[in-house]
């Protein structure tokens, strides 16, 4: 049923939840119900995206085969689907959905463990990309929050943010494919130049 999504939406609009004027045990309850609603919505969206991208099935798309995962903790640089070693022949498909009614040019950032990757669009053209080192403070917050909220160790720390520009049509989606980079291919991500100023 879709009841828990309705519960979560109601909580997200409740004045105490918005302003933080609820007791702590109520805040904890809200967190749990919001999380349950999010998981339900994620399943629904994954199924919808699979139908949108499935070019083989008929219009009913009753049994989509592709499994899409989201990363609700990207703000603390935690994204297990993108933090994988991409061996030859293995591709990470990144689907970007735009819920607004105009074309959007934006920049995506995802944590990766290897600098040796390459980004392509759905036509196979290489997309310009940039790598930024993930600094210690982000890793400390990632560790604290995954331990506290998920009760898990976050595993191998990602080393870089992989950043690339995307273009997404109105109420539509674009796909990008990340693979391990072959040495012979040009178009590798540009490593950011990093420097520190002096302290006085």
């Amino acid at each position: 049923t879709a009841d828990s999504l309705g519960d979560a939406l109601a909580i997200a609009q409740h004045h105490d939840a918005v302003t933080g004027t609820e007791k702590q045990h109520v805040a904890d309850d809200y967190s749990k119900r919001l999380s349950i609603g999010y998981v339900e919505a994620e399943k629904l969206v994954a199924s919808s995206l699979a139908c949108l991208t499935d070019t083989t099935s008929n219009s009913k798309c009753s049994n989509p085969s592709t499994n899409f995962e989201q990363c609700p903790l990207l703000n603390i640089s935690y994204c297990p689907p993108s933090e994988v070693e991409l061996s030859q022949g293995k591709y990470l498909v990144v689907l970007v959905y735009n819920s607004l009614g105009w074309n959007r040019e934006d920049v995506i950032r995802i944590p990766v463990i290897s600098a040796s990757v390459i980004v392509r669009d759905s036509k196979g053209s290489i997309v310009e990309s940039q790598l930024l080192p993930i600094l210690n403070i982000s890793l400390e917050i990632r560790k604290l929050h995954t331990m506290a909220y998920l009760g898990i160790s976050p595993g191998v720390n990602p080393k870089f943010w992989l950043v690339f520009p995307v273009s997404v049509p109105p109420l539509g989606f674009s796909t990008y494919i990340i693979s391990s980079a072959e040495k012979s291919v040009s178009g590798h991500p540009v490593m950011s130049t990093t420097y520190e100023t002096h302290e006085s």
Partner: protein, 283 residues
Amino acid sequence: ASVIEVGQGNLKLVFNEGKMSHYLNSRNSVNTTIHQSYIYYPGDDGSGADYQASGAYVFRPNGTFPIQPSGQVPLTVMRGPILEEVHQQINPWIYQITRLYRGREHAEIEFIVGPIPVDDEVGKEVVTQITSNVRSEKTFYTDSNGRDFIKRIRDYRSDWDLEVNQPVAGNYYPINLGIYMTDNTTEFSVLVDRSVGGSSILDGQIELMLHRRLLHDDGRGVAEALNETVCAHEDCTGLITAGKFYVRIDPLGDGAKWRRSQGQEVYSPLLIAFSEQNGADWT
């Protein structure tokens, strides 16, 4: 060098001795000074004449405390073709990243605030202040639950004679989408990615309250202090909040389009979903 310029498109930000100092847009000739700092308001403990403590419902500051880094803040600057970042450790519990994207004409500022220390038994309400040279003459505009921006005049209400007892709290407003101010030539806008409190206590200055940790109940119903902690194993600390706000300065009349379109994009970010594919048929 003590002066650093970031941004590779029309918009450039200058940092002087570790602090943001200038905002330059070569397309529309905006060239203005801008400063950003952090302060906190110590929460009133309710021991004063009116017994009103600062709490979840009531913002009752007991003074102003500047958060000044000792000496110059060393910056970490990352440069690349798509975006440039400036990282600043403001103090042990405030970290900030300023980002300028190629092709964008606003600055994105990500803040990571907390855990707010309360070892000194003082609750704190942490605020960032962004100061421009806009001559706003007590007037600023805040959104109404993401809808129309409503005119606010400091220490004034249009429908009754206001007696100002709380010069800061009495001028605070909820900010769900953004806040802006103008003068004869310029518009200074700040958009937010979450609901915060905000105001303009001085002309040309916009402030946002980013985090609060308080030690007393305000006595208005919630019956506990706003002092949430997070525990990993047996270690409990105050919460860390991480969010973003967006700063832009336009010639007068040019800011509204950005506030609406960027505001929608902040509220409805691109949804990213991942899937693995093996073999050569990834298209």
